[in-house]
Symmetry: C2
Subunit: 230 residues, 2 copies
């Protein structure tokens, strides 16, 4: 079901290509968007600056970055610099998986949404061209929506929350086409798991490869200035 126009939504915004496109889609529905980013100790902190730029460019009503030191609990190459970001092609769920990350992010989004009186929560999860994370699958999104409506005052009183993952079944090239049509400036986004200090992507990690393949499949040049080619 489409949310009512002019109502509020919370949009999880990492600063990457997918979440930027998701924010553009929510804005295109006429929603007043409250964007939420997390400083969780990720080594790819360039995405936090990207999130701020994207939120502003796409007309978010508000953008907050919540500091969640879940990286201190360890266990992921995305937050622990003692662990190397794996090369693509490693079988199984990669070491860049952050335990329970989307559960934690959606839980915080849910709390903020209830405070704001928003009942639509957007997440750029994608189960096609992705890294194989369990918390990017449709069954996870559906289970979180069920939980949300049991966990909250609004949910039990009949003001139901909806978790929107509009990219869930789209390939990366299709996501890029839709974002371009909505005016997303992908030059502002950051996808790399281990960018250099100046924000330059590494060109080797899973996330860089998936992005490059997406632009290639879309027949478009990635507007992001970068040092690598496919």
């Amino acid at each position: 079901m489409s949310p009512a126009a002019e109502s509020r939504a919370v949009v999880l915004l990492s600063g990457g290509l997918d979440s930027a496109t998701t924010l553009a889609m929510a804005r295109a529905q006429g929603l007043v968007c409250h964007a939420l980013s997390f400083d969780y100790g990720q080594r790819h902190r360039a995405e936090l600056a990207a999130a701020t730029a994207v939120a502003s460019a796409l007309g978010a009503a508000e953008h907050r970055t919540l500091r969640l030191p879940v990286g201190e609990l360890g266990g992921s190459a995305l937050t622990d610099t003692a662990l190397a970001v794996p090369e693509p092609g490693t079988p199984g769920i990669p070491l860049t998986y952050v335990p329970a990350r989307n559960t934690i992010f959606l839980a915080c989004a849910l709390g903020w949404a209830e405070v704001l009186g928003a009942h639509d929560i957007f997440i750029g999860a994608n189960a096609v061209d992705y890294s194989g994370y369990p918390d990017c699958r449709p069954e996870f999104i559906a289970a979180f929506e069920t939980l949300a409506n049991l966990a909250t005052r609004d949910g039990v009183e009949g003001r139901k929350f909806r978790i929107h993952a509009p990219l869930l079944h789209l390939g990366k090239a299709e996501i890029i086409h839709r974002g371009m049509a909505l005016g997303v400036d992908y030059a502002l986004t950051s996808s790399c798991y281990q960018p250099a200090d100046d924000g330059q992507p590494c060109g080797r990690c899973d996330s860089c490869r998936i992005r490059a393949q997406g632009f290639a499949d879309a027949g478009l040049a990635d507007p992001l200035t970068r040092k690598f080619t496919l």
Copy 2:
């Protein structure tokens, strides 16, 4: 199902009566307990000191306090000093409800559990003598367990998580009796929503009243030094 002895568990520990009893129950099952508290901007910060004392007294292997600034998102009398803690008897879910609190806490516990290789998570949620929060009900706990096993690498690979809420169906007097039998020192715990700077409970809030009624029903004196009587 009971967890295997000598395995690890994550126990949410607020420092109150219920979570202290829950930790004692997990320890009594022979579990190596990793206790997790949250500094979320709560006005009743005395409970953080209580949690540290309780974890030590009950032999937790480790106790961590994670700073989560969810209070900055507003919306609760427990985190916003501009809102008064309501008097008991106010109808409906009280203003002390913190949006999505147990969802956020369990999400963090889940992430830490996966890092530790623990698959048993304990929460002192109680649906009998409680404040009517939606995220203290059995259906919420069950939905979170379902989510946990869809959200995580361990869950999808068949190393299932179990969410234990051993107090869920117990009255407060029964909780106190069980805790006393397990050697819980309730003098270390803190229940009040708005304690004085020296940690003295107010004696008026919902939480103080429920605790006092529990000790009265149990026919026991609350060992906590306090200024109030029922």
